[in-house]
Every structure is written in C-alpha cells, then in structure tokens.
C-alpha cells in the first residue's frame, strides 16, 4: 500500500529526504 501527501506550502518549503530512504512514523519529511 502507499500513502500520497499533496499539500500547499510557501516556496521555501524544503524536504529533508532522499528518494529510496526508509522512514519511520513521526520522523521529519520537511520544513519551512
């Protein structure tokens, strides 16, 4: 199964991720 987040945010929103990385609930996806 898959979860897709689609959201609006200011231009300076940045993801703190790498494609393919494992992630756990509660860990940061990104921030302004």
């Amino acid at each position: 199964s898959t979860i897709v987040l689609i959201f609006e945010a200011p231009k300076d929103f940045n993801f703190s991720l790498q494609a393919g990385q494992k992630i756990r609930f509660g860990e940061a996806l990104g921030s302004l």
Binding site: T2, I3, I6, F13, L29
Partner: protein, 325 residues
C-alpha cells in the same frame, strides 16, 4: 509420450507452446534488462520502460479485489493457540518485525494474522518530531517527493500521473451554492489558495509487514473525503516504475483539508494484499466492497451546518489503518 493414450497427448500439446512462449518472453525481458544496464554504463539516460495499454488492461482484468477479499477472509481464520507462535514468528522473521515496539508483545494474544497485522505500537516507540512542520504519517520507504509541476505528479522518477485524475474534481458540483463564476484556469489554481505558494507531494511505500497505522503528519481540518472503487494492483516500486498512472488505477481514499499554509491532502492507496482502508472518524467508509463497481467514487463531507470546521486533528494523531483483504 509414445505409450500415452490419444486424449492425454492432446493435453500435452499446449504444454510445449506455453513453455516456449513463457521462456521466450522471459528471455526477451532478460535481454531488455541487459541492454538497459549497458546503456547506463555508457552514461545514457534510459527512459523507464512503461507497460503498454494491453498489458495494463490485461492486469486490470485480473480480479484483484476478489483475490484481496479472499486473502482477507483467510487471514481472519482464528488460529489455534499452539499455532500462533510459529505462524507469527515466521511473519516476524520474514518482514523483520520488532515485537519490542508492539503494545502487546505476547504472540498468543493475537487471534489471527489480521489482528497481528493491525497490532498497535507502544506510544514511545515512535516519538513525533516537534521541530519540523511535516512528519511521516507511517513507517515506509520514500518513493518520490518534490514540487508538483503542471499538475503532473511523479510516482517514481520519470513516471507521472495526473493530479486531477488522482484527487478527482476539487468540489463536488452539487455542493456549490452557485455554478463557479470563474472557470479556474487550471486544476492547480483550485488547490493553491495563497499567492506565492507551491504544491508539493511525497509518496511513501508501505512494504508488506510494515506497521499499517496511519497518523496525521500535520495539524489539519479534515474536510471532504472521496473514496474510489478501482483495481487493487500491486504498488511495489517495480510496478510504480512500470505502470503509468498506477495510483489512479487503484482503490484509494482521498482525505482533503487545510493546514496553516492552505490546502492539504492525504491519500491512502490500497494494494492487492491490503485492499481495505479504515479511517477512524469515518465509520461509513467501506472500501474493497463488492457492491461498488470499479471506477466509481463516493464523496463525503465532514463540514456540516453545525460544524463548519470539519474535523480538527493534531500532528501525530491516529487517523486510520490499512487492513488485509
């Protein structure tokens, strides 16, 4: 072969044909992979090899929802006490589950695999990051993320799907008090509510065995929900690289709302093994149900005359879960 009676000989004839075509197709696929590796070694960008329409149609014709429901029924069979430890230990070993994080560690507590699949974690097992504005709604693997351009979202690098097909029309027409005065120039302008903002997306793949609870990544006022009855094809990364618009073909629940910067949506996309989606505040939601035809969808709004705000939710709050079958 010489001594076999005529009838069984007629049965034998399709066998070599099947073996030959199957072997030929497998050999062709191996050659394709070899050729792509050689091109990558030369530093040439190999475009993803997408499934043709006939391959997608053939896959969609497989009764995946029926198979998924049968799989769910099988996993609801109550296991005898003595069988629980060996069965769940095999599952733990196969998927690398850490039972120390489970709220109930005793394997005999879970009556069947479905219950074991829905086990809850200890609250302290997953601390919620307080610094960052958006956190992961579940355990999983990041398939893709980034800014949404031209209303096309990348499911994996180089393979996209249409945002409008995925989320569906922004507001159910019957909910509008009057026909929209201005035909929005694009679907994007129906979603982005503030000047200077952009649309972002993040795709998280929940491998089999991953804890299936879904928590909210943000403070959020849940508004309309939309449930699509579609296929339940596998959504593993290999399929996401092969079938364009894969997430638009699959059964899914689209939750939309807003957060402090505007529009926010979380969509749970089902798959063959986990065909059912539960949203705790939506008791009327029934996914993977035989009574709905493929391709239809139901809308539901949590905004009422009495409650204009929808359903307020906090970051890290339990939102729902995927279930087997």
């Amino acid at each position: 072969v010489h001594t076999a009676p005529a009838r069984s000989l007629s049965l034998l004839r399709p066998l070599p044909i099947l073996v030959a075509t199957g072997g030929g197709y497998a050999g062709y696929r191996q050659y394709e992979k070899y050729r792509e590796r050689e091109l990558e070694k030369l530093g040439l960008d190999v475009p993803p090899k997408l499934a043709g329409h006939w391959e997608v149609a053939l896959y969609k014709s497989v009764p995946t929802r029926l198979l998924s429901r049968a799989w769910g029924r099988l996993n609801q069979v109550e296991l005898p006490h003595w069988l629980r430890r060996p069965v769940y230990s095999l599952y733990i070993w196969t998927f690398g589950v850490n039972m120390k994080e489970a709220a109930v560690e005793d394997l005999h507590h879970y009556r069947n695999l479905s219950e074991f699949f829905r086990r809850r974690r200890k609250p302290q097992a997953r601390p919620v990051c307080g610094l960052h504005s958006v956190i992961s709604p579940s355990d999983g693997k990041i398939l893709n993320f980034g800014q949404v351009k031209n209303c096309e979202v990348e499911q994996v690098k180089g393979v996209t799907y249409s945002l409008e097909s995925f989320l569906g029309p922004r507001t159910p027409a019957e909910d509008l008090p009057f026909p929209p005065a201005v035909r929005h120039s694009s679907f994007r302008s129906q979603l982005v509510t503030r000047e200077g903002n952009e649309l972002y997306h993040c795709v998280i793949y929940l491998a089999p065995g991953v804890q299936v609870g879904v928590q909210l990544p943000r403070i959020w006022n849940g508004r309309p929900a939309r449930e699509y009855q579609c296929s339940l094809m596998s959504v593993n990364p290999g399929m996401a690289r092969w079938i364009k618009e894969l997430f638009c073909h699959n059964e899914r629940v689209v939750l939309t709302g807003d957060w402090k910067h505007g529009f926010f949506s979380l969509t749970a996309v089902g798959a063959t093994n986990v065909g059912s989606i539960r949203i705790y505040f939506d008791r009327d939601l029934h996914t993977n149900s035989p009574r709905y035809s493929k391709g239809s969808y139901n809308d539901f709004s949590f905004v009422t005359h009495a409650n204009k705000e929808g359903i307020p939710m906090r970051k890290g709050e339990h939102l729902g879960e995927f279930n087997l079958g």
